[in-house]
Symmetry: C2
Subunit: 434 residues, 2 copies
């Protein structure tokens, strides 16, 4: 099955710049673009890179077929459309692999290609990285706060229907155990799970009928929603219907901490010692942390996960940092006017670590890779070589990488309070040191 082209997930100006550059003869100058954050979201200690695999898929589907070219009538002239008909990305890209932690100025992706090929990718790459990394960055704090208890992603209904699928994937990278989203299960193999809604109870003539229907069809291991009418009565009824082997009960309203204690005591009284308690209802990392001492066995997280818990986008930018000059050599370039000035020159990065393996600094080298002190870890891996995707990996690899990368951070990374980046970003300028 042919996937749709992603080439119109693009801003108008990228196409008109291409037209002007083709006409002026500069379009084929070799160029280096970098995708990076100027800063972390205010108060956050670290960020999480996500969307890498999706970006590589999108790059492969970035092509100008007849449908796409037809849509560009009135946007760019015929010579530009003719050039686009033969578009294929032929360049190279390196980047932080998925799941890696990032800090301010981490060079998350470095794209080297003719200007004409690379400039067109700006919007698509930023959309994917900005969205998916915002979700993963929030999710990572939630799974930290949950201290090993499973988090389940349930936010599909609170975000765009396609963003929901990407959010489920990004949350899984950052440690969420499962999702409610069936498309994420289909496309990415994220485990899916579910309980039931108030509507299911209300559909039946009584709560007993509803529980009986659910247990009969889905087995005693199912999760019963117990707050439609009266929680204590529903818990009693649930164990009566399913027996003490009832899988779990879900609480979706009220003071979850108080209720969890009360329901745990009741379940234990009823002999349902292994029946788990799952809580949902506008949870974020702070609410999860506040429930640490409550007898809760799992957190279902919705709105705050898919909206990045206050930071729905990362603010990554994609900037030209070097391009071929008249001499044929790559020359550093940068915006110079005050505000939003950037640093020209190609970047490399490594994570400086103590001999004990604790991260100490994000070291960004300009013009040359920074020096490895022996315990450090290089951060850029090849993603695309001569236009071929080489950086694809199973989602599970990204998930495991995130766990390792986060574990390497100093303990302050685990703080839920607002603060500075957990390690500093150090910049080494090869030209300045030469």
């Amino acid at each position: 099955m042919t996937r749709s082209s992603t080439a119109l997930m693009t801003d108008h100006y990228e196409l008109t710049m291409l037209q002007a550059a083709l006409a002026s003869g500069t379009a084929h100058r070799r160029a280096v673009f970098e995708l990076f954050p100027r800063r972390l979201p205010e108060g956050r200690r670290y960020g999480v890179v996500a969307g890498v695999g999706r970006a590589l898929d999108a790059l492969e589907d970035f092509r100008f077929d007849d449908d796409v070219l037809g849509a560009l009538d009135g946007v760019v002239d015929e010579p530009t459309r003719a050039w686009l008909a033969g578009y294929r990305f032929t360049g190279d890209a390196w980047g932080y692999p998925e799941g890696e932690v990032y800090l301010p100025h981490s060079p998350l992706m470095v794209v080297e290609a003719p200007f004409a090929e690379a400039v067109l990718l700006e919007t698509l790459l930023l959309s994917i990285y900005n969205h998916d990394s915002a979700i993963a960055s929030a999710a990572s704090r939630m799974t930290l706060a949950a201290r090993g208890r499973p988090c389940i992603e349930m936010g599909s209904r609170r975000t765009h229907e396609e963003a929901a699928v990407a959010a489920a994937r990004a949350a899984h990278v950052a440690g969420f155990a499962a999702t409610s989203n069936l498309a994420a299960r289909q496309r990415y193999g994220v485990p899916s799970t579910g309980t039931s809604a108030h509507s299911f109870t209300l559909l039946h003539d009584s709560e007993r009928d509803a529980f009986r229907a659910q247990v009969d069809s889905l087995g005693v291991g199912t999760t019963l929603l117990v707050d439609t009418y009266d929680v204590a009565e529903a818990v009693r009824l649930g164990v009566e219907v399913a027996g003490p082997g009832l899988g779990a009960v879900r609480l979706d309203s009220g003071d979850l901490g108080v209720l969890a204690h009360r329901v745990r005591a009741q379940l234990d009284d009823l002999g349902a010692h292994d029946t788990r308690i799952v809580v949902t209802s506008d949870l974020d990392e702070y609410a999860i942390a506040s429930l640490a001492s409550a007898p809760v066995d799992g957190y279902g997280v919705g709105t705050q996960l898919v909206t990045g818990s206050g930071h729905p986008t990362c603010g990554f930018v994609y900037k030209l940092v070097a391009r071929e000059g008249a001499s044929g050599e790559l020359e550093p370039v940068a915006k110079r006017s005050p505000d939003k000035a950037s640093v020209g020159g190609r970047k490399w990065a490594l994570r400086r670590r103590t001999p004990g393996g604790v991260a100490e600094a994000e070291v960004v080298g300009i013009g040359a890779p920074p020096t490895d002190d022996g315990d450090d870890r290089a951060l850029l891996v090849p993603l695309v070589r001569d236009g071929e995707v080489v950086g694809r990996e199973p989602l599970e690899a990204a998930r495991q990488r995130h766990e390792r990368s986060r574990a390497e951070l100093p303990e302050a990374a685990q703080s839920m309070t607002r603060g500075e980046a957990v390690i500093p970003t150090l910049v080494q300028d090869a030209a300045a040191n030469a």
Copy 2:
């Protein structure tokens, strides 16, 4: 061309509830679900309904083909999958038409169908309405603040790549003149536009070369980005290269108010009286309002538009409010435990207006339509009848409706300060009055 099925943009539990209801014999009970907001985002005076057209498209594409059914292996049992293979929505839906203003408890969509058909739509409908209405609600405040000056949507890079397309569409409904997003142009006919990026200037050997290339290829009516190096020098150069007929200049950094005054004076000195000034750079409705007295001719809005300016989702819910009882009649139902309790019974709505046509209240009738006092306006229109979409309309109709509906609100709606809903929601319960 066959569009992809939307049937997996769905939460796992909707399918397992279906399985249990099919087994218990309740699946085919007639049911009424309603999609509504419990409240407005904190501080907002009104909201804007968007996504209606997209929801109707998504409903038509909600089908369980072989691909989809294959993905449900392990989610639901074989009898359920067999039932799903024949799924077709056969019910009715009414709703607020697109662009309409909403208030707390406005019944934005009312779906009447067998439970089995309607329960499956929960996540998909909520995703679309929650996202698109959040964008339109933010956009409407921005176009108010802009007081007739054009707003251009440029936020694609800050949100998921498909959410970006929907955001451009929703912003257009709420008065944005154009978008940078080419897919929104292709799919929905939203006018697209663009300027150029710093990378285009940096690609060339000099700013003069870059401006020359842009003007030669795109004409003197183009918009030059003038803050790569020195704004005053770039403005001088731009008029030198393009002549006093230069279309516009764009400012993307610095103190936009101060710069706009300075650049306007310089353009006028150079005889470029008709050259417009477009500003961008993290604008929101407050920044736009603060520029009201500056000589600005257009606002490009990115991040804050696509993230709903602090409110990236609307918090709409989709609740069962009535279902067929043992008698065969529809009976009101509602969650009754404390917190998140809802009001059962089918809803109707009208906007109460003064004889002068100013909105006074949102009147929600339970069980029967509220009484029209003569100057009022009914708010629900048919969207789907016997499974056929009947509520489709051109996007321009939604755009015009929004303008009319917003103009009808009391003046307090135009306030950018935080406050209460601009008109109260009154509930009339037919059963209580009978």
